[in-house]
Symmetry: C2
C-alpha cells in the first residue's frame, strides 16, 4: 500500500514538475502541458501507481478541464476505425472461444506441433508469417491469431511478420512513399530481400529468448499430440454453432484479405461478422454483457491514442526530431545512423500507433541521417523495419497488441518489462545481422 | 421462432423495397438508401426481428460496405461527448449502487414518500423538476436521478422537467434563438409562465396514467416508511466507500451545475469523477469488467445517433419538411398548426437526439406555420415544449433515456409501447390545456 502511495506522489511530482517547468523555445504551452499529462500517465502505469484505465481517464479529464485539449479533439479516438476494429475483434474472438471452436483448433495445433511448448510458439510464428502478405492490417491479423494464442507469442510474432513483407502492415507502403523522396525506391521484392535475413533470424531466435524469460511450466510434452488427437475424437463432428462461427470467421478473413482491392473498410467487415453472429445466436446479448473488460480496453486505448496523436499534431514530435538533429551535428555517419535508429525505437514509448510514429518521425530522421552522410537506403530500411519490430515495446505500442495484452495472461508491468527486452533484442538482431546484410546488397 | 422469421423477412422486404424504390426528386440516392437502412433498423427492433444492438450493427455495416456512408462519418458517433457522458454515467451509477449508497438513499426516499407507490413516483418528479433549472443537460440530470429510480418514471419525469424551464435542456436556448428570427422573444420568465400550466398539468396526470398502464405489484404500502426507517437504523453510519462515493458524486453534481458559467465540459467532469472513484478503489477494474451491457448500449446508441444525424446532414429531414409544407398549402391556421405539431412529434421516431431534431425541423416547421397564418408565439412554444415531451417516444429518443432503458426493467417492445402512449398523452395535454393557455397569454 505504501509503495502505491510513493508511486502516486512520484506521478504527481512528474506532472507538476513538467507542467510548471519553463516551456522550451519552439514549443507551444499546450504541447508542453499535454506532454506533462501523457508522460505522467505512462509513468503511473509503469510504476504501478494506477491501473492503465484509471491513469488514462484522469489524464483525459485533466487535459479537457485545463483547456489543454478541446473536447472534440480529446474524444476523437473513440471514433477511430482501427480502435473500433479491436473492439469488434474482441467480441468475435469471444464467439470463437465460446462455441468450442477455439478449443478444437487448439487441439488440432497441439496434435501437429504439440511435442514441445517451443514447437507451439514456432507454429504461431509460421502461420502468422505465411498469411501476413495478404493482410495489410496487422490489427485484423491479430484477430485471426488471437483464438490460437493468448500469450506474448502473438505480440512478438506480429512485430516480426509485419516487418517481413511490404504489404503486411498499413504503414509500410506509406514509409516507402516517404523514402522515395530520398531516392530510395522500394518494391515488394526488394523489401522482402532486404528484410528476409534479419527478420528470419529474429523469428528463429526470439521464441528462444521468450522461452528463457518466461519459462513455461511444462516444456517437453511428448504425449500431448496423442492426447490432443484423442480429445478431438471425443469432440466429434463440428456443432451447429461451430459451423456458423467457422463460416462467418472464414468470410471475415476472406473479406479482410480482399479489403484493399475491393476498397472495403476492415472495421465494417468486422461489424458485419459480429452482426451475423448475434443474429444467428452463436453470440447473444447476454454474452456481450459479460465483456466489460472490452469496454475498459476501448476507453484507455482510445484515450492514449488521442493524447499521443494530439501531442504529434501540436508539434511535439517534430520538435524532438529537430533538437536531436542539432545535437548530432558533426558526428560520423555510422554513429549517427546507429543513434538515430536507437532514438527512433525509444521514442515509440510516446506513441500509440505505428503509423502515427512513422508519419511523425520517419521523414525527419531519414533527413537528419542523410544530411550527416548516412547512406539513404540502409537507413530507410532499418527505420522501416524498426517501425514494425518496436510495436511490442509497450502494451499500447500497436493496436495489434491489444487482444493479447487484454487477455490477462500477463500484468501491465510484465508486458512493459518483456516488451523492453524483446524490442532491445530485435534492435540488436536488426543492427548486427541486418546492417551487414543491407551493406552487402546496397 | 417462426414469428421472428416472419419479422426478419418483413425487415428485409422493407430495406429492399425502399432501397430499390425510385429515389424521390430532390433527394440524393445516398440519403434515400440511408433512410432505407435506418427505417429497417428501427422496424426490426419494434417488430422484435432483432435486438437493438444486432439491428444497429448490421445497419452500420451495410451503410459502410455499400458506400452509403464513408467510414469516418459512420463511426463519428462514438466520439460524441454526450454519448460518452452516458457511458461514464452508467459506470458511476454502478459505484453508487455497489457501495450501498443507492440502497440507503432508496430507504430514505421510502421513509418519507413510501406510503404508496404513486407517492414514490411523484417524489422523483418533484426532485427532478426542482433541480432542473440548474442542469442544462438532461443527460447529466439522468445520471443524478438514476440511482433513485430504475423505472419508466425517470424517462417520463425528464421529458417534462426539461419542458418546464428554459435552462433545463441544452436545445431550449437554441430554440429560442431560432424563434427570435420569427419575432418571438422568449426569456427565462416568459418560458416558465408559458410552460407552467400545461407542464404542471402533465406532471400531475402522467404518473396516474403510468400507474394504470404498468400497475405495480404493490400499491398501498402503509408500513413501508416504518420498515425503511428500521432498515436505515440497521445500516448504521455511512461506510468509508459510501462517504467517498457521496463526496465524488456531490462534486460532480456541483461541477455539472456550474458547467455553463465555468465553461467546463460535462463529459470531462464525469471522467474526472470516474477516475477518482477508480483511484480510491470504490470502483475496481473488476467491477468495470462486469459492465459489458454498457458497451452494448454505447455501440447501438452511437450507431443510431450517427445514422440519424447523417440522414439529417444528407438533407432528408429538410426534404420531409418541404414536402409537408407543399401538401398543407391552403389549410386553415388552426388545422395547419395542429398537424404541424403532430407531425413534428411523430418525426421524432427518426431522431436520436432532441437537439438534432430541433436544429433540423423547428425552424422549417415554424416557417411553414407562419406562412399559413398560424400565430408565431403559440406555435413556437408548442414546438419547443414538444422538443422536450417527445423525448420518451423511443428508448433512443433522448440520451437522457438510456440509463433507464438500459436498466433492463422493461423490454424494448414495452419501452416503445409505453413511449408511444405517454408521448401521445403529453401531446394531448399540451394541445388541450397548453393551447388555450398560450392563446390567453399571447
Amino acid at each position: 500500500m505504501s509503495r502505491t502511495i510513493v508511486a502516486r506522489l512520484a506521478t504527481l511530482a512528474i506532472v507538476l514538475g513538467i507542467w510548471f517547468f519553463p516551456v522550451p523555445a519552439g514549443l507551444s504551452p499546450q504541447a508542453w502541458r499535454l506532454f506533462a499529462l501523457f508522460a505522467a500517465a505512462i509513468f503511473a502505469v509503469v510504476a504501478n501507481a494506477l491501473p492503465i484505465l484509471t491513469s488514462s481517464i484522469l489524464a483525459l479529464a485533466a487535459a479537457v478541464l485545463t483547456g489543454t485539449l478541446a473536447p472534440e479533439q480529446a474524444y476523437s479516438g473513440f471514433a477511430n476505425g482501427t480502435i473500433l476494429l479491436i473492439v469488434v475483434a474482441f467480441l468475435v474472438a469471444r464467439a470463437v472461444v465460446q462455441c468450442g471452436l477455439g478449443q478444437r483448433i487448439g487441439h488440432m495445433v497441439v496434435s501437429v506441433f504439440g511435442r514441445s511448448t517451443l514447437g507451439l510458439v514456432y507454429s504461431v510464428f509460421v502461420v502468422d508469417a505465411v498469411i501476413a502478405p495478404a493482410f495489410p492490417s496487422n490489427t485484423a491479423r491479430s484477430g485471426v491469431l488471437y483464438p490460437l494464442t493468448f500469450s506474448l507469442a502473438g505480440i512478438a510474432s506480429l512485430s516480426l511478420s509485419s516487418a517481413l513483407w511490404l504489404t503486411a502492415m498499413a504503414a509500410n507502403p506509406l514509409g516507402t512513399e516517404i523514402a522515395r523522396a530520398f531516392g530510395v525506391d522500394i518494391t515488394f521484392g526488394s523489401w522482402l530481400i532486404a528484410s528476409s535475413v534479419p527478420t528470419l533470424t529474429a523469428m528463429v531466435l526470439l521464441p528462444l529468448l521468450l522461452y528463457r524469460l518466461i519459462p513455461p511450466e511444462v516444456t517437453a510434452t511428448p504425449a500431448a499430440p496423442a492426447a490432443a488427437k484423442a480429445a478431438l475424437a471425443t469432440l466429434g463432428a463440428l456443432s451447429r454453432h461451430e459451423k456458423i462461427v467457422a463460416a462467418v470467421f472464414a468470410g471475415m478473413v476472406a473479406l479482410w484479405a480482399l479489403a484493399s482491392p475491393l476498397a472495403l473498410d476492415s472495421t465494417a467487415v468486422a461489424f458485419l461478422g459480429l452482426g451475423i453472429m448475434l443474429a444467428t445466436g452463436v453470440l447473444t446479448i447476454a454474452d456481450i454483457a459479460r465483456e466489460g473488460d472490452v469496454l475498459a480496453t476501448f476507453i484507455w486505448f482510445a484515450v492514449l491514442f488521442t493524447l499521443s496523436s494530439q501531442l504529434n499534431e501540436l508539434g511535439f514530435m517534430g520538435f524532438l526530431g529537430k533538437r536531436l538533429a542539432a545535437a548530432m551535428n558533426g558526428w560520423s555517419a555510422l554513429l549517427a545512423g546507429l543513434v538515430l535508429t536507437i532514438a527512433y525505437v525509444l521514442l515509440h514509448y510516446l506513441f500509440v500507433s505505428q503509423t502515427a510514429h512513422l508519419l511523425a518521425l520517419f521523414g525527419v530522421f531519414l533527413d537528419v541521417g542523410v544530411k550527416l552522410g548516412v547512406p539513404a537506403a540502409p537507413l530507410a530500411f532499418l527505420l522501416l523495419f524498426a517501425t514494425n519490430f518496436f510495436s511490442g515495446i509497450t502494451p499500447q505500442g500497436s493496436s495489434a497488441n491489444l487482444l493479447f495484452a487484454g487477455s490477462g495472461y500477463l500484468s501491465q508491468g510484465e508486458l512493459y518489462r518483456l516488451g523492453a527486452i524483446s524490442t532491445a533484442f530485435n534492435l540488436l538482431v536488426y543492427v548486427c545481422v541486418g546492417l551487414p546484410w543491407l551493406a552487402a546488397i546496397y
